[in-house]
């Protein structure tokens, strides 16, 4: 299989990640609860991961909160800052992990900046919409559909100037672009552990520049006689037993990313996307590319995107088609009705794989064209064939 769905989850993990998970399952009990060796071993490994994350993201270890995934982290962030019926400014490229919590709160989600690969327009729109009554600005660092790198440093600076809390969704940038809690002065930064950090599924991080409101209440192994959740980090946002095996794997993943280096990973993924874009563009695909683009490439195939992805899957190429849980981004780009097929490489993808995947996509497209010629118009319409 040529795996190109790393924007959903990185499937090929470093060997050290698998080893860390297995070791944790053998040697770790519940951290922060008992005082015996297996509990203290777990506590030490969990803290090592906090330290590794704190070092990579420029914050103190206790500001690193472990979550199930980025969605969990974003829910904590959004619900800590935006009251029911409040006002939030978001980019035109947000994931449903941002849009849906805001909708559930009945918040007024003001959309700023819908032009793809146009950071100046994005910045102007945020500047216009960040008003004194804004409860929070929530912005993705990189669009999970198009790879557009938003000008988040400047947006964060605007927020600091205007005294509005800033939340960064680093789901697609983490492990590829630098992310600093200190430099951004963000209230929260949310991220998954299982994408660019190469940890296992079921891991995520919330970096806290502000004090979160607990999404869950329960045991923390601290202040047990108190009925309220502790008012200090990380305990305030970490009720219940942690995913120790996952966290140990995440720690190994973070160390892998540090050892490779962010610039090397970014350059590698960008080069692979450019390679695929060149081939697909020559084959007549509509390809979404821009200067401010990270390692995610979306294309419009010559038929229904889901059917096209299915044809690629049959040839051993794993990609994601459809709306990618980000209908807002598709509306912004004008692809909400047709969706796109997304190719997203990782540090483990080779140039040979990227080249082969793009050429297989061309072969599939050619086959579809030939099939479409033989089909009645109604069948072509059903399959979305562009004749």
């Amino acid at each position: 299989m040529i795996y190109l769905d790393n924007a959903a989850t990185s499937y090929q993990k470093p060997r050290s990640v698998r080893a860390a998970v297995l070791s944790a399952m053998r040697e770790c009990a519940s951290p922060g609860r008992g005082g015996y060796r297996a509990a203290m071993t777990a506590a030490e490994r969990v803290y090592r991961c906090r330290e590794a994350a704190g070092e990579l993201f420029d914050c103190a270890p206790e500001r690193v909160v472990f979550t199930m995934n980025a969605t969990h982290a974003l829910n904590i962030a959004v619900k800590s800052l935006v009251p029911p019926g409040g006002r939030a400014v978001i980019s035109g490229f947000e994931h449903n992990a941002v849009v849906r919590p805001l909708r559930a709160l009945g918040a007024n989600a003001v959309i700023a900046g819908r032009k793809l690969f146009d950071p100046a327009d994005t910045l102007r729109a945020f500047s216009r919409e960040i008003t004194p009554d804004t409860d929070a600005v929530i912005c993705t660092h990189v669009s999970n559909v198009f790879g557009y790198i938003l000008p988040v440093a400047q947006i964060a600076a605007l927020c600091r100037e205007r005294g509005v809390p800033f939340v960064l969704d680093a789901s697609q940038s983490v492990g590829v672009l630098p992310v600093s809690l200190r430099d951004l002065g963000a209230a929260f930064i949310a991220m998954p552990g299982h994408k660019g950090l190469y940890g296992p599924q079921g891991t995520g991080l919330l970096l806290c520049g502000a004090m979160p409101k607990p999404l869950l209440q329960g045991g923390t192994g601290s202040l047990s006689r108190q009925a309220e959740m502790p008012d200090f980090l990380p305990d305030r946002a970490e009720a219940g037993t942690q995913n120790v095996a996952g966290i140990c794997g995440l720690d190994a993943g973070i160390r892998f990313v540090k050892s490779r280096g962010l610039p090397a990973i970014r350059d590698h993924e960008t080069a692979l996307c450019r390679l695929m874009a060149r081939i697909l563009e020559r084959g007549g695909f509509r390809v979404f590319t821009g200067v401010n683009q990270s390692g995610v490439l979306s294309v419009c195939p010559p038929c229904d995107c889901e059917l096209f992805a299915e044809k690629l899957a049959q040839r051993g190429v794993a990609v994601r088609a459809g709306l990618h849980c980000a209908p807002l981004a598709h509306e912004s780009a004008g692809t909400a009705d047709c969706g796109t097929v997304r190719f997203s490489p990782s540090a483990f993808t080779t140039a040979g794989e990227a080249d082969a995947a793009a050429r297989i996509a061309l072969q599939c497209a050619e086959k579809i064209r030939k099939e479409a010629e033989k089909l009645p118009v109604s069948a072509c319409e059903f399959a979305g064939y562009k004749l």
Binding site: Y47, A60, G221, S222, L223, Q226, F232, P234
Partner: protein, 83 residues
């Protein structure tokens, strides 16, 4: 005799432990004895008496929040002291 420095959480105690390690001091991380954790469930660093003052200084230097400090003699009598 030993000194116990108590912390609100395992993470707080671990941060304190790292501060000591950075200063070249050794300590034992353990669950805080019940008598030192009136609010229930805490962690402590057990430090030899000749290292207690240096440990206090390290905590201040690394801005580690200490919940309490106790001197426990050989007979197990505990006395609260200034952290």
């Amino acid at each position: 005799m030993y000194y116990y420095f108590t912390f609100r959480s395992i993470t707080g105690a671990q941060r304190a432990m790292r501060a000591l390690e950075q200063t070249g001091l050794r300590a034992t991380l353990l669950r805080a004895p019940k008598m030192f954790s009136a609010k229930g469930c805490g962690y402590a660093l057990k430090v030899r008496p000749d290292r207690a003052a240096a440990a206090s200084a390290a905590f201040r230097s690394y801005a580690v929040r200490v919940e309490g400090a106790y001197r426990v003699d050989a007979q197990g009598r505990a006395e609260a002291v200034a952290p």
